[in-house]
């Protein structure tokens, strides 16, 4: 229902709107175009047959050819009011156009709408969440990567000594020089290394530092000298990971030394 017009529900209506001039019930002489199974028919109603409801609507099949059908409408509705003739032709045009469109669309791929079942969808979603929790993806990936490392699929790229942190440093000094050439071209390592240094190396290095504090100072002093030499030739291998660690240790060691000094002074005094 638009603001000014009602829609007519009668199936024989010509325009679709409810007017005095386009109501099939209000006019005793009326004509419509209707289509059935892709063929268009012209329906006509005249006064003479008003008493016979069964024979009221006369049906004429229109040809498939558009122009011929228009001529047929004209000859059947000759001497009929202009309004009905005009509207019939308009309706016929529109019907043929939409029939053409239907035929064209069925040739193209049609999107098939498959209805989702809500219960099933909810169930699947829930199961997926549970499966995600059960999967423990990060752990699984880390495990797999470590396994591959153990099985030597990476070859000689990573050299991890099996023993403790101290010996790792001593070995690295020998290795860093050989690795520096290979890995200097690697830009990626610097990018990701920033990430690693900032977040995790702190923790791991602090843990190791507790163990180191118990070791003798002499070793540390030696390592300091060695570290200074190595830092000049820092490569982009694993040594930068130890970089902040070394710096930190050096810093702490300095503190130790300061503490011991005043005590000796007091003793002397």
């Amino acid at each position: 229902r638009t603001k000014t017009q009602n829609f007519c529900r009668n199936e024989y209506n010509l325009t679709g709107l409810c007017n005095r001039s386009s109501c099939p019930l209000a006019n005793s002489q009326y004509a419509t175009i209707r289509e059935e199974k892709g063929r268009c028919y012209l329906y006509m109603k005249t006064i003479e047959r008003a008493a016979f409801p069964r024979r009221l609507w006369e049906r004429v099949l229109l040809s498939k050819n558009y122009e011929k059908a228009l001529e047929e409408i004209d000859e059947n509705l000759i001497y009929w009011p202009r309004f009905i003739r005009h509207k019939c032709k308009q309706r016929f045009t529109k019907i043929t156009q939409y029939l053409i469109r239907i035929r064209k669309l069925t040739l193209k791929r049609q999107r098939k709408l498959v209805p989702l079942r809500r219960k099933i969808e909810r169930r699947e979603k829930r199961r997926e969440e549970k499966a995600l929790i059960a999967a423990q993806l990060d752990n699984a990936i880390e495990k797999e990567l470590l396994e591959r490392l153990k099985q030597d699929t990476y070859g000689d790229i990573y050299n991890f000594p099996i023993h403790a942190f101290d010996k790792a440093l001593q070995q690295q000094d020998a290795e860093s020089e050989s690795e520096s050439d290979a890995e200097k071209e690697d830009e990626e390592d610097t990018d990701t290394r920033e990430f690693v240094e900032a977040e995790d190396s702190d923790l791991s290095d602090f843990e190791d530092m507790d163990k180191l504090e118990t070791s003798s100072e002499e070793e540390q002093e030696e390592e300091e000298e060695v570290e200074k030499k190595a830092s000049h030739s820092t490569s982009k291998g694993k040594t930068p990971l130890k970089g902040p660690a070394r710096r930190k240790r050096r810093y702490i060691e300095i503190e130790y030394e300061e503490e011991t000094e005043p005590t000796t002074k007091t003793k002397a005094a």
Binding site: L137, R193, D200, S201, S204
Partner: protein, 325 residues
């Protein structure tokens, strides 16, 4: 969980006075009280008591275990769905010769023998919306040697021969519904199997927290977890054939397809070995989960294709412990 108790306190006391050890007459059950408020209150009390008893029992058991020391019986393994999984007869035995023979002669053999280099075409259904387009782009950065082409109303049956002519080895079609991608069709081109998945929980790169920089052009490694049955094996090989066979370890990128309870989770990470026992991973790249809907023998053909496996809900979803991949 009934015990004995002060009979009078139960009937009248709907309020806050709660004795320390709540006791009930032996034939009493919480569900018999008609008053909802009181019944609720009783039920909560009963629950609290159950929890206390459970805690006490646990402590006792732990003390006993410690007391026994070495002689204690081994800890009970909790039942998980993976433990209870119904044994699937098509589970692949690592030493199975028949399977090995099959794999040597199936459609992926040329890939695994390093004769072909994968070249992937990624496309969508009609009129992709922004999210799908971005997802396609990100996916193409993850998979090396892949190209994204827009589908402008082209029939799949017609583009397949063209793809084969241009030497593409795989075709990925991402189906979209209401502006989000929800389906994936993966088809191995020279006459290979076609797998149709339902895709869910797609996260683009900016929606993943703490993601790093973009994936580089290096060939990533591939991890395929938990593909145990024959079907799982073939699907796993399909995934493996998307990536070139020789990963570049310098790139330190890894793409993971993890199968858990028939859901395949895809993740893309960058890893770094911090020590021999520790590795750090950082997630880049999109993530999504797939659920296999059907597997067809030939290339994509919905009407006349020969289906190797279809998910039939009524038959296959009857048991919660039965999985097919």
């Amino acid at each position: 969980g009934d015990g004995s108790g002060p009979v009078g306190a139960v009937a009248e006391d709907g309020g806050p006075l709660v004795p320390e050890r709540v006791l009930f007459p032996p034939t009493f059950s919480v569900s018999e009280i008609k008053n909802k408020q009181r019944r609720h209150f009783m039920f909560l009390r009963w629950k609290q008591q159950q929890r206390k008893e459970k805690l006490a029992a646990k402590k006792k058991r732990r003390k006993e275990r410690e007391a026994l020391g070495d002689e204690a019986p081994p800890k009970a393994i909790p039942k998980t769905i993976e433990n209870q999984r119904v044994y699937d007869e098509t589970t692949v035995d690592p030493n199975d010769e028949e399977v090995a023979f099959d794999e040597a002669t199936d459609e992926f053999a040329p890939y695994f023998n390093r004769q072909t280099v994968p070249k992937i075409l990624i496309t969508t259904s009609d009129r992709p919306r922004g999210r799908t387009v971005r997802f396609c782009e990100q996916l193409s950065t993850v998979i090396p040697n892949s190209h994204v082409y827009y589908r402008r109303g082209l029939a799949l049956k017609r583009i397949i021969p063209q793809c084969i002519a241009r030497d593409f080895t795989d075709l990925i079609v991402i189906n979209e519904d209401r502006k989000i991608p929800n389906g994936l069709v993966l088809s191995h081109l020279p006459d290979g199997p076609t797998a149709h998945f339902r895709m869910s929980s797609v996260r683009l790169r900016k929606e993943i927290k703490r993601t790093g920089k973009e994936p580089t052009e290096h060939v990533p490694e591939v991890i395929l977890n938990n593909f145990t049955t024959r079907l799982g094996h073939s699907v796993g090989r399909m995934f493996a054939s998307l990536f070139p066979h020789d990963p570049q370890f310098i790139g330190r990128q890894v793409a993971t397809f993890h199968n858990q309870r028939d859901y395949i989770f895809f993740r893309f990470h960058r890893y770094i070995f911090k020590s021999e026992k520790k590795v750090g991973i950082q997630e880049l790249g999109p993530r999504f989960t797939l659920k296999l809907r059907s597997l067809q023998k030939g290339t994509f053909d919905s009407k006349f294709g020969e289906y190797e496996w279809i998910h039939k809900r009524r038959e296959m979803d009857t048991s919660r412990r039965k999985f097919h991949l």
